[in-house]
């Protein structure tokens, strides 16, 4: 798969590989849950970095504005992101 296709395929937090980051676009969750996550910094426009995880990749730690929260995959796949980058974030992420 060409690199550009891989980048375009990233659509939710669950698709991010460790070190990869994305800009949050949409929280496809019930209102209360979306609000809770927004209070923690998971706001549209925020940059989210995928970090380490439990063995097996679930739950995974996500870094947002210097704080880390672990989310299960079934929550992460409802949080849409775009514009992944594997630059500086990748070095920091590990």
């Amino acid at each position: 798969m060409p690199a550009s296709a891989a980048a375009a395929a990233v659509s939710t937090l669950a698709d991010l590989v460790p070190g990869q980051s994305g800009v949050l676009t949409l929280l496809d969750l019930p209102d209360g849950d979306a609000q809770r996550l927004m209070e923690l910094g998971f706001l549209p426009g925020s940059v989210i970095v995928a970090a380490r995880s439990a063995p097996g990749g679930d739950p995974r730690v996500y870094r947002v504005e210097g704080t880390e929260f672990a989310l299960r995959r079934d929550t992460a796949r409802h949080i849409h992101v775009e514009g992944s980058s594997i630059g500086r974030a990748a070095e920091e992420g590990r």
Binding site: M38, E39, G41, A54, E65, A70
Partner: protein, 629 residues
């Protein structure tokens, strides 16, 4: 960090003085160090209770101020916002708004925010300041902010917020004087500011970012040590291995290391009982004091060392930040039972004793997960079951090698009982989480705090706090139960003499219960034992000893022989199964009532476990009897 940075033009007002001490609420997000500051200000002058009807803990304490005055501090539950979405948030909001029944509205607020996470935590400042109460904004963890190269201008922030700001390190005690200055009286009532409304989170956020920028906030560099430690503790291979090592270490400590201390407490209880007994004339009073009170309370008191050691470990795990990593690693396994990563610590604790396990479940914010964890914890094989298991297994199961020298029949039976309890817990969790406690769908969210060095002070305070709760149970519930049980076993008097236990009220009760337990293969003696062991499971050993007329000196060999005579193998296995499932522990009932805020859950739990114990024992008796003829 000496004086609070006041804002120019803020009206300065003296706190209102009522007839009673002033009440100051501590508000802050989870992990902001709120409780650390609370402990720092109040020390041992704390009282922990529950808000009526809810599972939220109410922590109050008194702080001494200048000139012999005192102020009452109330440590409100950690919240990310004041939108009443969770029980914690509702309690915090209601208390602050003066709408909590039986609660006075606070006179002032300490708003504690983590200065290393200021932009996120500032979001909470808007709704809190909008309450219009005198408020000191405490920027905590100032030492960490500085160490990681961040900075903030408290004076500029005070100007932006319209309220005084103090930069402190609650863990190290730096800057605490400014908090005392605030409590001592002169405080700015928040100047009316244009604050964003709650519902609009993105707008709140923009406000927080703008305020932070104008206060010259420079976010700290990422915590390098946390990243390095996570590279080890969350390593795909090393991580789970370290996790297992930690679990084994905790197990070792609560069983091996606690043992000599428990023996010491036991010896102390016996010695002091004998000493007190010698002071009393022989007869009913001596028997009541020595056998009833000392014996009953002592049988619970022996668990204190285990509980203290357990909370030492829980404190180390929690305050260092490792607990969040352990919960992350355990989540996948716990999810199979419908629970979550944070349930693992209480369930591990339950192998020592269900009481600390129930108390340890406080780290689970999700109420349904927390109640499910509390309900299944007593199925784990606690140490009070071991004397019962040991006695029955030794009496009925001949020691034969199963796997060469590695595993004998008796060890296998013991292992089987551990597995049985675990399976009951697992099945019950599945049952609960797919029915009455089905997840409300709220997402699993686990904040990963940076690793920090635990402080002895914090851990010692927690151990003290938990020991106090435990001892209060032993001192009230168990004391009462012990006296009632003694009365049942020693009355009615016949010709001024105490009756044989068989002719006592307990004996009569045992005979009355005999038809009920006959299908399980138990006789009236076991029935009495089931009644007396409600105080604590291992009490049945002593009761059976008394019933069979065994002196304490004759050891358990005689008791084993007597049991073999009276109990069929089916009945023996049924008794083991009964003890694996039954909630034969009034301390646990009492602590569950306390932690769930009412009688409903402990009543359901007791009924469910008793039913399971009865049917399990019934089936065990039938099956074993059918096999052995």
């Amino acid at each position: 960090m000496s004086a609070a940075s006041h804002c120019d033009g803020c009206p300065v007002a003296v706190l209102p003085v009522h007839g009673h001490p002033r009440l100051v609420g501590l508000v802050g997000p989870p992990n902001s160090g709120k409780s650390t500051l609370f402990n720092r200000l109040t020390g041992l002058r704390q009282k922990v209770a529950n808000y009526p009807g809810v599972t939220v803990e109410e922590r109050r304490g008194r702080a001494r101020l200048d000139g012999d005055t005192e102020v009452v501090l109330i440590d409100l539950p950690g919240v990310y916002s004041l939108t009443p979405r969770s029980e914690d948030e509702r309690v915090t909001r209601d208390v602050l708004a003066g709408e909590m029944a039986g609660q006075q509205k606070p006179d002032a607020i300490l708003l504690i925010l983590d200065s290393t996470n200021l932009k996120r935590h500032l979001v909470l400042a808007a709704p809190v300041l909008a309450l219009g109460l005198p408020t000191l904004v405490v920027l905590n963890m100032a030492d960490e902010l500085e160490a990681r190269g961040g900075s903030v201008d408290p004076a500029a922030l005070a100007e932006q917020l319209g309220a005084p700001v103090a930069l402190v390190s609650a863990a190290k005690g730096e800057g605490i004087q400014t908090v005392y200055d605030f409590l001592n009286g002169a405080v700015g009532v928040p100047r009316a500011m244009d604050l964003p409304t709650l519902a609009d989170i993105p707008k709140c956020r923009q406000w927080a970012v703008r305020v932070g920028d104008q206060a010259g906030y420079a976010a700290p560099a990422p915590p390098i040590w946390t990243r390095r430690l996570d590279a080890v503790f969350l390593h795909p291979v090393a991580g789970p291995l370290i996790f297992l090592a930690v679990v084994v270490a905790v197990f070792q400590m609560i069983f091996s290391a606690a043992r000599p201390l428990m023996d010491l407490v036991d010896a102390g209880v016996r010695a002091s009982g004998a000493w007190v007994g010698a002071l009393l004339p022989a007869g009913a009073l001596r028997s009541l004091v020595v056998e009833g009170v000392w014996g009953g309370v002592g049988s619970v008191l022996v668990f204190l060392p285990q509980i203290l050691i357990l909370f030492l470990f829980i404190g180390l795990l929690e305050d260092s930040g490792y607990l969040a990593r352990a919960a992350l690693i355990a989540d996948r396994t716990m999810r199979k039972a419908g629970l979550q990563g944070k349930s693992f610590l209480p369930l591990l604790s339950a192998y020592a004793c269900a009481v600390p396990a129930v108390l340890a479940s406080r780290t689970i914010e999700n109420k349904r997960d927390r109640i499910a964890t509390i309900l299944i914890a007593p199925f784990m094989t606690c140490s009070a079951r071991l004397p019962v298991y040991t006695l029955i297994i030794a009496a009925f199961i001949p020691e034969r090698p199963l796997l060469g020298p590695f595993l004998g029949t008796r060890a296998a039976a013991m292992l089987g009982l551990y597995v049985l309890g675990f399976l009951a817990a697992f099945g019950t969790a599945r049952l609960l989480k797919s029915s009455v406690l089905k997840s409300d769908g709220s997402p699993f969210l686990l904040e990963m705090p940076p690793y920090r060095r635990p402080t002895l002070r914090q851990i010692a305070l927690r151990m003290y706090d938990r020991a106090k709760i435990f001892l209060r149970r032993a001192g009230t519930v168990i004391l009462g139960v012990a006296i009632v049980l003694w009365v049942l076993a020693h009355l009615p008097l016949s010709a001024g003499q105490m009756p044989e236990i068989a002719n006592s009220v307990a004996g009569t009760l045992g005979r009355a219960l005999e038809p009920l337990v006959r299908p399980l293969g138990f006789d009236w003696r076991i029935a009495i034992g089931l009644v007396t062991s409600l105080a604590a499971r291992e009490v049945i050993v002593g009761t059976l000893g008394t019933l069979y007329g065994m002196d304490a000196g004759s050891g358990t060999a005689g008791l084993q022989a007597a049991l073999r005579h009276d109990l069929t193998p089916g009945g023996a296995v049924a008794l083991l199964v009964f003890f694996a499932f039954a909630m034969q522990c009034l301390s646990t009932v009492a602590v569950v009532r306390r932690e769930t805020g009412g009688w409903r859950w402990p009543a359901i739990q007791f009924a469910y476990m008793s039913l399971l114990a009865y049917s399990g024992a019934f089936v065990a008796n039938r099956v074993v009897t059918a096999f052995l003829g």
